[in-house]
Symmetry: C2
Subunit: 518 residues, 2 copies
């Protein structure tokens, strides 16, 4: 189809259409009311992001700051990732459970380092109805301390191990700095896995097995390249032994995003909560623990990485509508026949297992619908007009690159499947290309400073000392936040003997990614 010539709407407000009086049954006038973003991603990223999540109907702002409503457009994506991850962990014989939202202060405060990390963000319930509670009760910011007293009870002998539980739930962290939809919110949804093993080897292995699932969520589902690596001592999970993560990057802001974390807790919590077992030799031994989580933050990263000035751009694997079919009737054409062709297209693609809908509303023009579904990020638009009917074809327009291609109706399923695969791959490739172009190696402080000011993802040789990281933070403190280590990638470039730390000048021990982060 050629362009239909509809003018693109650009006003924003959702305007009620006034009709003439009389009240009789009359055809509703065509709405050409507002949609479309007013902010540009490259010019004002923060406002663009707020707009795109709201106009794309993913988020509604809520009357309590830092809390957001997740609309169906979001939840469908969450559920797709959840179905994948839940099935994978079940294959690993991890079982779902549900522990309470509430934690008593005595238990919460049992692990000192841990609670120091979370204490400032804990929300406290002190009243029910009009009565004061005898003891204030905390809302879980995470569930280590909620769960582990019971691990101590349940685990007696080596045959009780491994104990591998997971829960899908909400957690609350009452943060005050810069609430951002998905990325930093006071309540969010996540899964949290909590596992216990007889040996460190088993725990170490699982940390990486789970991290690989997180990589797959980002790379295979959300089409976002991530770096797998290990967190620094400063940045590891409070109370844990070591933390691994998948790290994403948002080129527009030059910020890293901790995408998901898989922690080996070592035996620290086991000591605090007295989680021991009788091993095969009949001796008392202490368990090894992991915990790991990913959250609705994933969805925010997806919006930030792929979205553009027209709106959301959803990867086909997670989009709740993968293709939208839009009739393009012309004056003299047989409108009903076009509508029928649209419905047949939906039916055929749905039967093939795709998520496809038709937008047959008669009070919006095709052009308005194009903009609407572009704003919502639907990966593929299928237009059907009289000429297409004649030629036994449909016109496909890709959301990711606007490419238009006419497809013979006989090849519909095969071609659409092919296009989804290509869109998914292209989104990943483009994101990876932009991410890679942002990587800057910095071997000296000067190089580091320049790269940071240029919003780069900085790969630098580091001495791996905590005090040095503190120093880097102090030296880069500014309005837009200090730089910190993001991770030391598992995939380490060669580190020639004699290489010095970019910050301290001491001998470097490893390559580490640095930057500002969300």
């Amino acid at each position: 189809m050629a362009d239909t010539g509809d003018k693109k709407p650009n006003a924003n407000a959702k305007v009620k259409v006034k009709h003439g009086g009389g009240g009789g049954k009359k055809k509703e006038v065509k709405k050409e009311t507002g949609l479309g973003l007013t902010k540009k991603k490259d010019e004002n990223f923060g406002d663009w992001y707020s707009e795109v999540v709201v106009f794309g109907e993913m988020i509604e702002y809520y009357d309590i700051s830092g809390c957001y409503i997740l609309r169906p457009w979001t939840m469908a994506i969450w559920e797709t990732m959840q179905a994948f991850f839940d099935a994978e962990i079940k294959k690993m014989k991890i079982k779902n459970c549900y522990f309470p939202l509430f934690v008593s202060p005595a238990v919460l405060e049992k692990e000192k380092d841990h609670i120091e990390g979370f204490a400032p963000e804990v929300a406290w319930v002190t009243k029910s109805g009009k009565s004061e509670l005898e003891v204030p009760i905390a809302i879980r910011p995470t569930s280590e301390t909620v769960m582990y007293p019971y691990y101590s009870k349940w685990i007696r002998g080596h045959r009780d191990l491994p104990l591998k539980l997971n829960q899908w739930c909400n957690v609350v962290r009452w943060e005050f700095s810069n609430p951002t939809p998905f990325i930093r919110s006071r309540e969010f949804l996540w899964q949290e896995g909590h596992t216990a093993f007889a040996t460190k080897e088993e725990a170490d292995k699982e940390v990486l097995d789970i991290l690989e699932l997180y990589r797959r969520i980002y790379e295979e589902y959300l089409a976002i390249p991530v770096v797998k690596g290990k967190k620094s001592e400063n940045e590891k999970f409070a109370g844990g032994l070591y933390t691994t993560s998948v790290e994403a990057f948002v080129p527009n802001t030059g910020r890293g995003v901790q995408g998901a974390t898989s922690h080996c807790l070592g035996q620290n919590f086991a000591k605090m909560f007295d989680i021991t077992f009788e091993n095969e030799k009949g001796e008392k031994a202490m368990i090894w623990q992991n915990s790991w989580a990913y959250s609705t933050r994933t969805i925010g990263v997806m919006v930030m990485v792929h979205g553009d000035d027209k709106g959301l751009v959803l990867p086909p694997k997670v989009a709740s509508i993968q293709a939208i079919v839009i009739p393009v009737p012309f004056k003299d054409a047989d409108t009903q026949a076009i509508f029928d062709a649209c419905l047949k297209t939906v039916e055929e693609l749905s039967e093939a297992g795709f998520r496809v809908e038709a937008d047959l509303r008669d009070n919006y023009s095709p052009g308005w619908k194009y903009s609407h579904w572009e704003l919502k990020g639907v990966p593929l638009r299928i237009e059907i007009g009289p000429k297409d009917m004649e030629k036994k074809q449909v016109r496909c327009v890709r959301r990711d690159n606007s490419a238009k291609v006419d497809i013979p109706v006989v090849d519909l399923v095969k071609e659409v499947k092919d296009m989804f695969d290509k869109i998914q791959q292209n989104l990943y490739d483009v994101a990876k290309q932009k991410r890679d172009a942002s990587i800057q190696v910095a071997k000296t402080w000067d190089e580091f400073s320049v790269a940071l000011s240029e919003k780069k993802l900085i790969l630098a040789p580091w001495c791996d000392e905590q005090a040095v990281e503190e120093d880097v933070k102090a030296r880069t403190k500014g309005e837009i936040g200090a730089a910190k280590s993001l991770c030391s990638p598992f995939d380490q470039p060669e580190l020639p003997e004699g290489t010095l730390c970019f910050a301290s000048g001491k001998p470097a021990k490893k390559w580490t990614y640095w930057g500002r982060s969300y």
Copy 2:
């Protein structure tokens, strides 16, 4: 297989087995440690229930009163029901969303009748970290007031209707009376549907469509007979127009259980939250709303209705393990061959789509395993010993009625499927028979009093006046709670002209179920 002669364990404590010193690799001694209930369902129902949910590993008691840990054995049942219900509502074009856990007081208190119903149970967050919040924030006891301000924003014209949302989430009701696992807990999991329509007719229809799904959860999944009906004015949802419910009954305690509710909210919330739309005539109109929910309470009802003195009894449709395969090795028999036969049985049944596991642990005797899996309520036990191998059969033992039947290995899948169907049906039939035997018609106050003292589910002609229900409550108040109306069944017996209300002596308007309830 004949009984193996293992003595049934009867101690309770989970005892750690001591091994001799030496530390060398030695075969672990057989554990014959405790399991089995100490309380009987007919003698001490309350303690029996507490024991069965804990020993059956569904629940762990938590250090905050009224909060319970839902263990994997529970969550698997919840997830099965969730998969069914979620798929059904998606067919009805209801979409999932997620609204915040927190409500601001201004919004919570907007609908007066509603908040009066919930206010005493609302938990309040007043602190974060060490700071007092400016305004205390409530935790949702249900989400009408959380959601409807946004319905007001999203609904403009008739084309925005119907708006049909659902969320799976936790809610908090800080009740002080008799916390009981699943049945009455301070936090519980549920789904809550919230829908908005242009017309009352559409709302009325959906109320019943959803109620039918609730009936199916109870009758088809949990094998529990329920009565569909309408709640009295006293018992309806606070702030709603009318409430329908499915009502279950626990014969042992003579108590009704409100199984799940489907409310028509009418236009009351719409008025409070100003949810209007422009109808097809271009006039301003007010929406009609429903809300509906079922919770983890369903699982408690299942335990109460089907459980027995040996433990849980799970219906095959919801059991996370439908059949457990147990090897019964004898001294001279080829143990490995028996183990292989067990694994082959699991494989064959799993491939046929059943949830089956083998218990090959070598430190427990077959008898201990029988008791263990009976306690956990697994619907079918499959025993394989040397004689079964010889005869190319397996022995099946049903949990519901202890019936034993030998099945030729060649017919395994067909016979097991058949047995699951029979178990599911039998559980329902037995429960229905017991429930029906508890129903007592009472036409006078005297008959009513006798029936109530006999723990009956009382069906009585009623004048349908609120004051009369209040009076019944006052007159039956006692240690174990007052009687109240449970529902007026949709399926009304004939009410001959001149029939009088059992309580007021006024002309009766309908038959209504009465009793004590959970």
